[in-house]
Symmetry: C2
């Protein structure tokens, strides 16, 4: 009897899984612990392929000592940029993006005007700090605002993968583009559900057997 | 002998041709005059098809009394939206757009901070007016910032047409997308160059002949 072919699914990961304290606790206390915690689970799931855009991986290195990243992580977490010059996006997204930005730009100006009018009512430093916060919230919150975010979205689209992120902007676009997404807080449970699956265990056993035969 | 087939080219027009005083003078003193001036030339060029996105046509109606637009204009100036849900754009444009917007957003915040710090140095009203101008320049100049602009670009792309516009943002994107473009100030000369072309004159003569035969 021919063995059932293992169905492979793909997952694209954001840094938040290892970096964001609220999220990474599911895998480990420090970013390095979280990487090892993730690895110990991920290596038991041959039916999942894990990807991270190179730009996001570079961000991760701001939080983790490169010398402490196990080589196995480089093997399991595939670094790959989306095919930026081959991929296309539907034109209606351009309209939505540009209309959204237009609204935000107007909102930013209102916030700035309010700050100017408030001078004298409280300390200048405080006014500027408040304005900065409100301005950034209005112009950036819930929008894709960096090329790293675009990388995440496009790589997930290219690979037809599950996107694991907390970024509101990326989730909004995942919804527009029909990309599956999952909050990192749910990701450990998601992974664990694979570990007792018969198909995976069978493949693992076979792998182990062939290794011991080779020995 | 079979007559040579007339090669048709397409042109997508912005409102500036009829509305912007510096530009429309080539065709007429008022927007309505400019429409009639354009018509009298355009109807002599059977080898050119003229298009205007419906959204841009709606903008034109803010400047022209609808009852004064000749029916012939509706026949010659085809109103058509781009196929928004079928067209796609290359993904690298998303990167450029988002990086560009990110820079502009930061610039906008610097302008706002400067305005807050200037309060007291001159009148509040003046400070706010200056800030508004600088902010709009920084955040909008040279960028596609409305769905009408996107319509222009996408329609020109869809029709493989020549885009006639003064909008810097639209021209920048035309360059990125390989769309031919022309400044409206050169458009009259461009049109006139067709009028003495043998192919066009021949077709016109034939049209006139067949009309007189029908009579």
């Amino acid at each position: 009897m021919k063995p059932a072919k293992l169905k492979i699914d793909r997952v694209v990961l954001d840094t938040s899984l290892f970096v964001n304290p609220e999220v990474r606790n599911h895998f480990g206390k420090s970013p390095t612990d979280a990487i090892n915690g993730f690895l110990s689970i991920a290596e038991q799931i041959p039916s999942l392929e894990f990807y991270m855009p190179s730009s996001i991986f570079a961000e991760l290195l701001n939080f983790v000592d490169e010398s402490k990243i196990p080589g196995q992580f480089l093997a399991i977490m595939r670094q790959k940029s989306p095919s930026r010059h081959e991929l296309v996006c539907p034109a209606f997204l351009l309209y939505e993006l540009i209309e959204d930005i237009r609204d935000r730009i107007n909102k930013g100006l209102r916030i700035a005007e309010k700050a100017v009018r408030n001078v004298g009512k409280s300390e200048e430093r405080e006014i500027i700090q408040n304005m900065r916060r409100n301005y950034r919230d209005a112009l950036r919150e819930g929008i894709i605002d960096s090329k790293e975010d675009v990388d995440l979205i496009l790589l997930a689209k290219e690979l037809d993968a599950l996107l694991v992120t907390v970024d509101h902007g990326a989730i909004t676009w995942a919804e527009k583009l029909g990309i599956r997404w999952l909050l990192p807080t749910k990701f450990r449970d998601y992974l664990m559900s694979f570990i007792d699956k018969p198909a995976d265990s069978e493949v693992l056993q076979k792998k182990r057997k062939s290794k011991s035969i080779k020995k």
